[in-house]
């Protein structure tokens, strides 16, 4: 019963969430409340923790909530429910499209969709820049943007290395101020 609920919750959230994992977060919250698995506060704590880690957010939430509600089996169940149906759909669609690849109209479909993807990515790019502006202000954002363009696009450095360097920079920066804050919190 519990596992049927876990499956249905994440199946619905996965099948109804358009726009990638972040778009399905409110749907996951609705499911969590429907079954009374946790309160708003705990959910937002878990979301905050999930956001401190890299990688897709929907599967981190599904995995953790599934684990909380039904142990390891619940975790696997929640992940399968949120990932599997759409992956299977995707494979079926693309494989059947590939068998028509030699027809000119299928090539035309690909051509038609490329500019739409460009617009979607452009909008996503702008979203990231706006969020960054809120965090750092224009000066630092522009500095970071130009730095990244130079390193990745001009010098051809692997983006993973650039990101790793930024993370290490944050990690080793000004530890003494951080220490003070933590001590203050534990008191």
């Amino acid at each position: 019963m519990k596992h049927a609920q876990i499956f249905m919750a994440f199946f619905r959230a996965g099948m109804l969430g358009y726009g990638g994992g972040p778009a399905s977060i409110p749907l996951i919250l609705a499911e969590v409340k429907r079954y009374g698995w946790m309160g708003d506060d705990e959910f937002s704590d878990i979301l905050a923790i999930g956001n401190t880690l890299p990688g897709p957010i929907a599967t981190k939430m599904a995995g953790y909530i599934g684990y909380r509600v039904g142990g390891i089996l619940g975790m696997l169940n929640a992940i399968i429910a949120s990932v599997f149906p759409t992956v299977v759909l995707m494979i079926i669609l693309l494989v059947s499209l590939a068998s028509f690849r030699d027809y000119p109209w299928v090539q035309g479909m690909t051509n038609g969709v490329v500019p739409v993807v460009a617009v979607m990515l452009g909008a996503l790019t702008w979203g990231f820049i706006k969020r960054s502006k809120q965090d750092f202000g224009w000066m630092k954002v522009i500095f970071l943007l130009i730095g990244s363009i130079l390193l990745i696009e001009i010098f051809g450095i692997h983006p993973a290395l650039v990101i790793l360097a930024l993370l290490l920079f944050v990690f080793f920066r000004k530890p003494e101020k951080e220490q003070l804050k933590k001590e203050g919190e534990t008191e």
Binding site: G14, V83, A118, V119
Partner: protein
């Protein structure tokens, strides 16, 4: 060893992409198109477009399909595992520790500092896709499609699935190579 390559191709984006699945897309593109040469920019765009037309998390749809294309069911499983498992394990194992640090300014800075870099990667991908479209369909058709989809997606907030469906039909009719 193809399975090892698939694992790496999705493990690296999964472990470095802050900001959820969409942030990992340009990192996946880098591995799949530029590093391993499994598909061209057009093919990647097509997969991404269909992925965006379907519901559910995008990173896992990409990993599942690309893994499947390269090495069948086992390839799909490896791709999915590499995308999901590392960050989920970290989350479950480190939960109590992360809980303490979730409001720490340093941890918050960790995810915001990489955002401009992700923006650059996304922007570069945007340009590559626009260039590809220009090469395949010419400036006029590219302009029409970019203008129309911008208007529909961003101004009218039409559901992406409908816009992609429309573009597929438009392309099948007007953009087929003769």
């Amino acid at each position: 060893m193809i399975y090892w390559e698939i694992f790496l191709a999705f493990f690296i984006p999964g472990i470095l992409g802050y900001g959820g699945g969409p942030a990992t897309i340009p990192l996946i593109e880098y591995e799949v198109v530029h590093r391993y040469g499994w598909m061209s920019v057009e093919e990647f765009a097509e997969v991404l477009a269909l992925g965006n037309a379907l519901p559910g998390p995008i990173a896992t749809k990409m990993a599942g399909y690309i893994g499947f294309e390269q090495a069948g069911i086992l390839g799909a499983s490896v791709g999915l595992f590499a995308t999901i498992a590392p960050s989920l394990m970290l989350m479950i194992v480190l939960l109590s520790l992360l809980y303490k640090f979730k409001d720490s300014p340093k941890v918050k800075l960790l995810s915001s500092i990489v955002r401009p870099t992700i923006a650059v990667l996304l922007g570069a991908m945007t340009l590559r896709f626009a260039e590809t479209s220009y090469a395949e369909s010419g400036i006029l058709q590219t302009g029409i499609l970019i203008g129309a989809s911008y208007y529909l997606l961003e101004r009218r907030k039409v559901h992406p699935a409908f816009v992609i469906l429309g573009a597929l039909i438009y392309g099948a009719i007007f953009l087929a190579p003769s």
